[in-house]
Amino acid sequence: MALTQSRIHWTFRRLLRKFEPAFYISPAFIVLIVILLYPLGYALWLSFHTWTLRTFKQGIPFSDIQNYTQLFSNPDFLNSLRITLTFVILAISIELVLGMGLALLLNQDIKARGLMRALILIPMMCTNVVIGLMWRLLLNYQYGLVNYYLGQLGILPVEWLSSPQVAMWSVILVDVWNTTSFVALMLLAGLQSMPDEPFEAAKIDGASAFQTFTYLTLPFLKPIILVVLLWRFIDTFRIFDVIYLLTAGGPARVTETISIYVYRYGFQSFNLGVAAAASFIMMIIMLIFALLISRAIGKEE
């Protein structure tokens, strides 16, 4: 009797122990699922229906996969996909290179490093709306400070935001200004957590600075580079605020990323079915990329 009781007690304890992590982890997950279930379900439903200002009063007709097929033959949508990928790849590459350079600089033996680090951090915290508008003023063709001071250096004024050839680079410039510090500070944290011994050994063996960097520093930094890549990918792929206020996707759609495209379809032409389908395609592309990066992170662990 006493034995069975203690056995029941023991089984119960074991069960409890097994589910103990769930006790801590599930509240957050439950809240997220409750919040997201309806919106995601509804967006999925919308993407298979024709919801326009004309249809929504008389019941919304089911349209099968028409929204999706339509999108893949829509030049504007394909354009926005291309624009987004261009932006993601260019912005992240420039940020990684500049960020690495800045991190290596800050890793030198310099005075007031803490202060420098703190000041450099400020752009990444700024409100996107303010960043977009501030740069719109700075890059103004006639009155902007950038063109004025370039003029002082003898450089002709540039149509930063209104020329189709330049606008994408301006958007990238602003994003680089905004987030290079994030990349640099993450990499700096990685640099500072590296062990000294292999570097001393390399020095004794007469390795050049370049060799040390490619064969020691980079492999050591790989996990943190992947994390930076994941965060930057998430943020650049869905960028909206800054572009919306800087160029609103123009001129001639050269800066119309998917988020801007969906916004235009959803809130200007109120074609919610198509907007939902486009945003689902966007989400799937994003999750695939994020999954690939996460897998690489997982392998590092």
Binding site: P21, A22, P27, F29, V31, L32, Y38, P39, A43, L46, L102, L105, Q108, I110, G114, A118, L121, I122, P123, M125, C126, T127, N128, V129, L133, M134, L137, L138, Q142, L145, W177, S181, L185, M186, A189, I224, L226, V227, L230, W231, I234, R238, F240, D241, I258, S259, V262, G266, F267, L272, S279, M282, M283, M286, L287, A290, S294, I297, G298, E301
Partner: protein, 280 residues
């Protein structure tokens, strides 16, 4: 001779390093400083070319911002929404992070990664269905609508960052407390939590800043009552003209708390964002 050369090279490289670092700091701060200065300029000086750097500062733009827009009400909206969201996110996020940091179980890595999915979802995907949902609940233009929307990215953020900070607290401390008769919950509250407080503060600050800066949900889901400050800034762009003086003044007012917070927490912010993933 050799030594002299070496010292010269060292000096030159030092000068190059310092000037590059100072250049980076200058480029980071100059646009923001320009924004602050523009806020104190008379509107007709804003576009003066060549730019005017010496002028009598005026508070005209600030006065106009504060009097014409009911600024204090929207300021309170921003503060309340960000505070409530941050509170809930830190509570739930820390609990989950503790679970991820202290237990080993199958599928842990992928469960942790999947907690980032809501953060990855582009707001543009969620904003239409959220609008429909809140419309049914009669929550359009209320603060709770924004709190619920903001939880979708603040909870993942706090799970991610807090996991890293709990990993920093040695598990041995907790085990010692449990041997001394503490329950695990007791060990969490008496041992680990106090040690994780700086990290928690940094996480809270980051979550607060994310909510404070958010624009898309705020502009779609609110009307006159629950508006937040980023939306107010854009209200100075009218069809006829862009009131740059007021944009600069209101923009400065929005940025000041962000900059103060960022400077307070900078040391922990970077560590927290990086640690979450590098350690399992």
């Amino acid at each position: 001779m050799q030594g002299k050369n070496y010292r010269l090279i060292k000096l030159v490289s030092k000068i190059i390093i310092y000037s590059l670092v100072i250049l980076a700091v200058f480029l980071s701060l100059a646009p923001i400083v320009y924004l602050f200065i523009t806020g104190f300029k008379e509107p007709d000086l804003t576009f003066a070319i060549p730019p005017v750097w010496k002028f009598t500062p005026t508070t005209q733009n600030y006065r106009e911002v504060l009097t014409t827009t009911n600024f204090s009400k929207y300021f309170m909206n921003s503060v309340t929404i960000a505070l409530i969201t941050t509170g809930i996110a830190i509570l739930l996020g820390s609990l989950a992070a503790y679970g991820f940091s202290r237990f080993r179980f199958r599928g842990k890595f992928w469960l942790k990664m999947s907690s980032l999915i809501p953060q990855m979802l582009p707001p543009i995907v969620l904003v239409v269905p959220l609008y429909v949902l809140f419309n049914r609940l009669d929550w359009i233009d209320t603060r709770q609508a924004l709190v619920v929307s903001y939880l979708t990215f603040t909870i993942p953020l706090s799970i991610w960052m807090m996991t890293g900070f709990f990993d920093d607290v040695p598990i041995e401390l907790e085990e010692a407390a449990m041997i001394d008769g503490c329950s695990r919950f007791g060990a969490l509250f008496r041992v680990s939590l106090p040690l994780a407080v700086p990290g928690m503060a940094a996480t809270a600050i980051l979550a607060f800043i994310y909510c404070w800066n958010e624009f898309l949900y705020a502009v779609i889901l609110t009307g006159r009552d629950a508006r937040t400050l980023p939306v107010i800034i854009t209200s100075f762009m009218t069809n006829k003209s862009i009131l740059w003086g007021r944009i600069a003044a209101s923009g400065s007012l929005v940025l000041i708390p962000v900059i103060i917070f960022a400077l307070l927490a900078q040391r922990y912010l970077v560590r927290g964002l990086g640690k979450g993933a590098v350690k399992g």
